[in-house]
């Protein structure tokens, strides 16, 4: 037993709230060996991070309470140790990195200081710590490390920040690295780089790595073994390959089937129809910075056009310009022949009904102080010509049923719904205007995979029923593969490539598109292993 690096045995953690006790995890057991990568896979609310928090002594008690279990490390139960003993282990023997490195790095101290602190906190002299910090920054490939050591977190890119977190975590060569959703907020290409960095470092140090993720692709790329969690319980364990290819538990099966990018691609619509939206040479400057550069594309009625690009590609700015949330610098966007860019505000007001938007984060795009009924019926309040007041209630009910929600919930507030349900409300709100074109800005990115699939199914269903067009903005290529008619790839404000979905996926012309494809992670560990090999070869040949 003692030969495992760390072992969690029958861990149960409760959280106490006014509504009673929530069992965050129940009877969770797993172990991690030296040099091994264990992935804990689960969606939000599955309790996948709780055991890691228990290991790191990060559970606030109260409201949290560890009701049973042991965490054995070095033959001792961590849960029995005093906090000062555990502090000695934290950072030096077991280190952790988190999702969203921006908020996990202290914004008011230099990164150099923060990396050095993990060493000084464990007794290393300041000067030595600084030298080592510089080494580490170089090791995680921070360019110009000598100068950047005294910069602040906000002065780095997202990928660099995660590298800095990694540098910090590995400063004292810990036995175990816990990585909690380490690549979730990152672009695909950056994600690939960070994961390979972690793999390299693991090989160097032989540490055990606990990888907490919701992404089957990450599991396929990095994990040796995987533990699947749902609602606080472990539903399945096994090697990454076993779990993917021969899932036993229905939940695992459902999870795997929900992964996008595996279905049949959609055929392009027949040509020759009058486009609903025709964008010509649209450009948007912010001072000297060109956010959207001479973009031209068309959307046909009933068509789904996906705009794909990494952060900073200008895809969201393009959407905002179309909705006049930003004013375009030049170019035109003809909606049924009328130019959205120069339209006077009264005309624009009438046109708002036709073009609607669904935002990325439903938590933020719904006013927390309004009930669902108020949120949806606001459309009728603003545009009284849609519907006379007595019919509002029925229409809201209809719309809620249309998006698959219970009509009786219309007097609840957004926080009483789950993320997927909230996005359905946001869609219902957009539909209340009876629009012809809906712009979806990363509309499913914040959702769990299984929920993502449901929402996309809904969108497809609505398109069939209502014949709306979608301009679907996403950073994730596999996601749009299954349901877009055409795909537009953007980079640095420019459209680099566009065409029918099959053409883009099967025969990409531009290097950038190819790179994007290659960086994407397949949920199949075998395919991912091939890609990794190919990537390594590519790297060797370029060197």
């Amino acid at each position: 037993m003692a030969d495992h690096l760390i072992e969690v045995r029958n861990l149960s953690v409760d959280f106490h709230t006014a509504q009673g006790t929530v069992h965050a995890v129940r009877n969770v057991s797993w172990h991690l060996d030296k040099g091994e990568t264990l992935a804990i896979l689960g969606e939000s609310g599955s309790g996948k991070s709780v055991s890691a928090s228990a290991i790191m002594n990060l559970i606030d008690m109260p409201p949290g309470e560890i009701t049973s279990g042991k965490v054995l490390f070095d033959g001792r139960d961590l849960l029995e140790m005093s906090s000062s003993e555990r502090r000695k282990i934290n950072g030096s023997r077991i280190a952790m990195i988190f999702q969203d490195p921006l908020s996990h790095l202290n914004p008011v101290y230099t990164v150099g200081w923060q990396i050095a602190e993990i060493m000084t906190a464990h007794g290393m002299p300041a000067e030595k710590a600084r030298t080592r910090t510089l080494e580490l920054m170089k090791r995680v490939k921070i360019p110009d490390a000598e100068n950047k050591i005294d910069s602040y977190p906000h002065q780095f890119s997202g990928g660099q920040r995660q590298r800095l977190m990694i540098a910090m975590a590995l400063a004292l060569k810990p036995d175990i690295l816990i990585a909690d959703e380490p690549t979730t907020a990152l672009d695909v290409t950056v994600q690939a780089q960070v994961l390979s960095l972690l793999e390299e470092l693991q090989e160097e140090t032989g540490m055990g790595m606990l990888l907490i993720t919701h992404d089957l692709g990450v599991v396929a790329e990095a994990a040796d073994r995987v533990v699947v969690m749902n609602s606080g319980e472990i539903v399945e364990t096994g090697t990454a390959n076993e779990v993917y290819h021969t899932p036993k538990h229905p939940y695992t099966k459902k999870l795997i089937s929900a992964v996008p990018g595996t279905g049949k691609m959609t055929d392009p619509l027949a040509t020759g129809i009058e486009p609903i939206l025709q964008i010509n040479g649209l450009t948007k400057h912010f001072g000297g910075f060109v956010a959207v550069d001479d973009a031209s594309l068309t959307v046909l009625p009933g068509e789904t056009v996906a705009i794909v690009g990494e952060s900073g590609s200008g895809k969201s700015t393009l959407a905002k310009t179309l909705l006049r949330l930003e004013d375009a610098s030049s170019g035109s966007a003809l909606y049924l022949g009328r130019d959205l860019v120069t339209m006077p505000s009264d005309e624009l007001f009438a046109l708002r009904r036709d073009i609607q938007m669904v935002f990325q984060d439903p938590t933020q795009s719904l006013n927390p102080r309004m009930s669902v009924f108020q949120i949806i019926s606001e459309a009728f309040e603003i545009h009284p010509d849609i519907l006379p007041k007595p019919q509002w209630k029925n229409r809201v009910r209809e719309l809620l049923e249309l998006v698959g929600l219970e009509a009786s919930h219309m007097h609840r507030h957004p926080h009483q719904f789950s993320g997927g349900q909230r996005q359905r409300i946001a869609i219902a709100r957009a539909l209340a205007m009876e629009p012809k074109l809906i712009i979806c800005d990363e509309a499913v990115s914040a959702l769990d995979v299984s929920i993502q699939a449901q929402v996309i199914d809904l969108l497809v269903k609505l398109q069939e029923e209502l014949d709306v067009s979608y301009l679907f903005i996403a950073h994730d290529l596999p996601l749009v593969r299954d349901f877009a008619h055409r795909v537009v790839v953007m980079q640095g404000g420019k459209i680099v490539e566009q065409g029918p979905v099959a053409q883009i996926f099967d025969d990409p012309q531009e290097d950038y598109t190819k790179g994007l494809m290659a960086a994407g992670l397949s949920p199949d560990p075998e395919i991912q292993a091939d890609r990794r090999r190919a990537r390594a070869e590519l790297l060797e040949t370029t060197i």
Binding site: R87, K88, I89, N106, V108, A121, H154
Partner: protein
């Protein structure tokens, strides 16, 4: 940076000009100082004379014009009540008030930040409850009430401290203590609230995962982040004292600018009022700029 300072200076100047106009005309709406200055028995002739000597017989607009003309040459006019230029008593009083504000707020800042941080760390615990309760209690009592009771207890009853006045360091204890109470209670609450948020933040989680001890977590990691809203309140409270700790000055015979302002308005000594307001407003503008610069020092994300 330079641009920021320049913009702030222009904005402050505009505010100051508005303030001067406002105070000039508002204060004159309260009436004429003649009846207050001259004895009840004074003849009409004497009254007319007085108005003539002090230019009060002129139309208001030309009085204002004359005042502004003098002001550009940094002449704040004569006090009608005191036999001296209006700016003299103001500067004297302001020097005292500034010292009082500095000493008090330095102590308040130190105490409120330390105790507030600890209360936030032990939120809901005994220390938190006690600190919160007493700080609120102190901040809830009328200050003149506390001041008089303090004199009755500490000077008359126990004979520990002098009742009032200035001179030794002992004379400062009671005025500072009375002034201390309210900002302390308030700032302690702000520190506590802000620290609770900071201590729940992701970077504190990181620090805990790094194995950093509690003390640096509180006073290094969380505190600096929590200080931004705090220094705003500190600034406001300092400004409030600079604007006149009238009660404390009145009771403890502390020769500050607050009492001077109230006395001047009661005596309708307009030039002194204007000079006092300008000096304190100027000080407050400087204070605000300092606070803004302090933001940038504390938070590297803020750049002007």
């Amino acid at each position: 940076m330079k641009k920021f300072l320049w913009k702030r200076a222009v904005a402050s100047a505009i505010s100051l000009i508005c303030l001067i106009i406002l105070v000039f005309f508002l204060s004159r709406l309260t009436g004429d100082p003649t009846d207050l200055f001259l004895p009840e028995t004074a003849t009409q002739e004497a009254r007319d004379n007085y108005r003539r000597v002090h230019g009060l017989d002129q139309p208001l607009v030309s009085q204002f014009f004359r005042y502004v003309t003098d002001l550009v040459q940094l002449n704040f006019g004569e006090s009608v009540r005191r036999a001296e230029p209006a700016i003299d008593p103001v500067l004297r009083g302001f020097a005292w008030t500034l010292q009082l504000a500095t000493v008090t707020m330095a102590l308040v800042t130190l105490a409120a930040i330390t105790l507030g941080s600890l209360a936030a760390f032990h939120v809901g615990g005994f220390f938190d409850r006690v600190a919160t309760f007493f700080s609120l209690m102190g901040a809830s009592a009328p200050d003149f009430w506390i001041a008089i009771i303090a004199i009755v207890v500490f000077s008359v009853g126990l004979g520990w401290l002098p009742t009032s006045g200035t001179g030794s360091v002992w004379h400062w204890i009671m005025p500072v203590a009375v002034l201390f109470i309210r900002p302390f209670g308030l700032i302690l609450q702000v520190v506590r609230g802000s620290m609770i948020t900071a201590l729940n933040s992701a970077y504190v989680k990181t620090a805990r995962a790094k194995g950093v001890e509690n003390r640096p977590i509180i006073f290094v990691h969380a505190l600096r982040n929590a200080l931004l809203p705090v220094i705003t309140v500190i600034g406001d409270q300092t400004a409030a004292i600079l604007n006149g700790a009238v009660i404390v000055e009145t009771i403890f015979g502390f020769p500050g600018v607050g009492k001077l302002m109230i006395d001047s308005i009661l005596q309708r000594d307009f030039n002194v009022i204007l000079a006092a307001i300008m000096v304190t407003a100027f000080a407050i503008f400087i204070l605000n700029i300092m606070i803004d610069l302090l933001y940038a020092v504390l938070d590297p994300r803020i750049r002007y």
